[in-house]
Symmetry: C2
Subunit: 341 residues, 2 copies
């Protein structure tokens, strides 16, 4: 494969090559890439801003994460934060610091993934910064979203006692996908003749390498005139994420162990790794599902919502955070989450 | 000095400790730090977004850049891009990736500088991301600004033939400050008993380590009902920056060598380094002054503007970019700029 050094193009030539095929989807994008700042106009609406940093060796491993998937995931993870406000993402900036290990062709792969996500989620790339790095690649993305009315914005602090706790999709698969990729990487590093066998495991691997944000859930909320009382995206694992909702809302909560959505293939894989599937689901992280609470009177609307389950209820603050096990026991829910430090 | 490990606080404890003393200056900040995204509402106005990445070892050297100065500069440099749109910055996000070399106390120093800049420029810290890094510290900042009317926004592409080219402040000092700091660093590395002597050099050093953004210029524009036709902040050196304006406006330009504003102390220091002061001013970079063009009929308003000089004129595209030397010669202006790659 051809290897063009970034120096041959220079910063502006590189940016042009990487960004010139992006389409514009939103009328609110007044000025995109190419000035000191991008300009957006959300009319009389509200603008959400969220930012994420992704560091090679901390957040991703290029041994098993193709650059195209990395670009896709970086965008999706960032958009997920905007959906978690019950808002619609409309713009994104992408900054990267790259060592000379990365060729123009490699960066085009990365941007092919970024563009695929922008096209699917109808988000405009409006800027960023490109610089060199001493080692590896670091990405920093900022997503911008909007909504017309403040009443539609869902913060973390609106959960009330008696509200129903729901979560979209299933949990723990992304974490198990990571365990699988790490195991195969170790085998490969010990003997490079070993080809990893991921047959029947494509689901968990895709959940790890190419997650999706729950655009559909936010669309359903708008369509059904339903506004969750509190919401967060599942990035650190639901025990940690429900803790954020409870802390900011000044409430407690209980989760029903038996209701935690776990795919059969993830359960089996967890057992293969001698891990408890429920622990993986509670603390795994990187699921990018939406964890939210609704008023009891909205129960009927939740029953009609696709791909969502009710997993618990908001309780008084003094009840703290508990897990009701299938065996009938009550455990304190400990947020193990992900601690990068 | 006490050294608290970041692990003792965890990510959320750390964020709290670093951000809890920041004030809120803008009514447009609806929700700041602590949710999936920040919320801003610029009513029916326009929002500018600009983002910068700063990498240790590439953009700064902690041997001579105190963390407090680094925090201050990181904010200022980012705000400068918003002013360069003739807009007023109102919010900022700060993301950082840090290795375990950095203690809580060190990060508090960094944030003390960030806060000083936020207080001076009346900007609200509304979010960010905090993660670990394999080595060193990487910062990524995103500044948000606004203006009520689209007519007030100054892009790079509005310069017309005959427009007057102006620049605020003086040029080249930040570059010379860097040369001085680098020289003293080398001396210090060779013999740690040598104490650097920066007497009489505080101006160039401050220009490098603690630059200011030209808030006052944008305030003057608003007050005098003057809208530049094109504007850019001087980050790469004016030869490179005027090239951006000319390229995007489809015009040429000439600069008068004798009008380039260079401080006497910078001239002297340049000669000490066997450097041409004009070359330093044209290509040095990191001045964070504003380079802008105005219509000829706005000349009177420019004459009354403090700390600004007229350095040239926009010419037809076929005249390209030239420098009229004090000796009466005409040279092609080459954009050397800063190439991080």
């Amino acid at each position: 494969m051809k290897r063009t050094d970034v120096n041959e193009l220079g910063e502006f030539g590189l940016i042009d090559q990487l960004t010139n095929k992006f389409k514009k989807y939103n009328g609110s994008t007044i000025k995109g890439v190419g000035d000191d700042a991008a300009i957006i106009n959300h009319m009389d609406g509200y603008t959400a801003i969220s930012t994420d940093m992704l560091i090679e060796g901390i957040h991703f491993d290029l041994v098993y994460s193709p650059l195209k998937h990395l670009g896709y995931k970086a965008v999706v993870v960032n958009l997920s934060d905007i959906y978690a406000m019950n808002m619609v993402p409309s713009q994104i900036t992408v900054s990267m610091a790259i060592s000379n290990r990365f060729s123009v062709e490699a960066l085009k792969e990365l941007y092919a993934g970024i563009k695929t996500a922008c096209d699917l989620y109808k988000v405009d790339l409006i800027g960023g910064d490109t610089t060199s790095n001493l080692k590896g690649i670091s990405l920093s993305l900022t997503a911008v979203g909007h909504t017309s009315g403040h009443d539609e914005i869902t913060y973390r602090n609106g959960a009330k006692v008696g509200d129903i706790i729901c979560v979209t999709g299933d949990l723990g698969s992304a974490y198990l996908g990571l365990q699988l990729l790490e195991r195969e990487k170790q085998l490969f590093l010990n003997d490079s003749n070993i080809k990893p066998d991921f047959s029947n495991q494509s689901y968990v691997i895709e959940r790890q390498l190419k997650p999706e944000a729950r655009k559909d859930a936010v669309e359903y909320f708008k369509k059904s005139n339903l506004t969750p009382t509190a919401m967060i995206d599942v990035s650190d694992g639901i025990s940690s994420d429900i803790m954020h909702i409870c802390k900011q809302s000044g409430v407690g909560a209980f989760l029903e162990e038996g209701k935690i959505p776990i795919k059969d293939e993830s359960k089996q894989l967890a057992l293969e790794f001698n891990l408890d599937p429920v622990t993986c689901a509670l603390n795994g992280g990187e699921d990018y599902e939406l964890l939210f609470t609704v008023k009891p009177e909205d129960l009927a609307k939740i029953r009609l919502m696709p791909d969502v389950v009710i997993i618990g209820e908001i309780a008084p603050a003094e009840d703290k955070l508990t897990l009701h096990t299938t065996g009938g026991n009550i455990h304190d829910l400990k947020a193990q989450g992900w601690n990068h430090f």
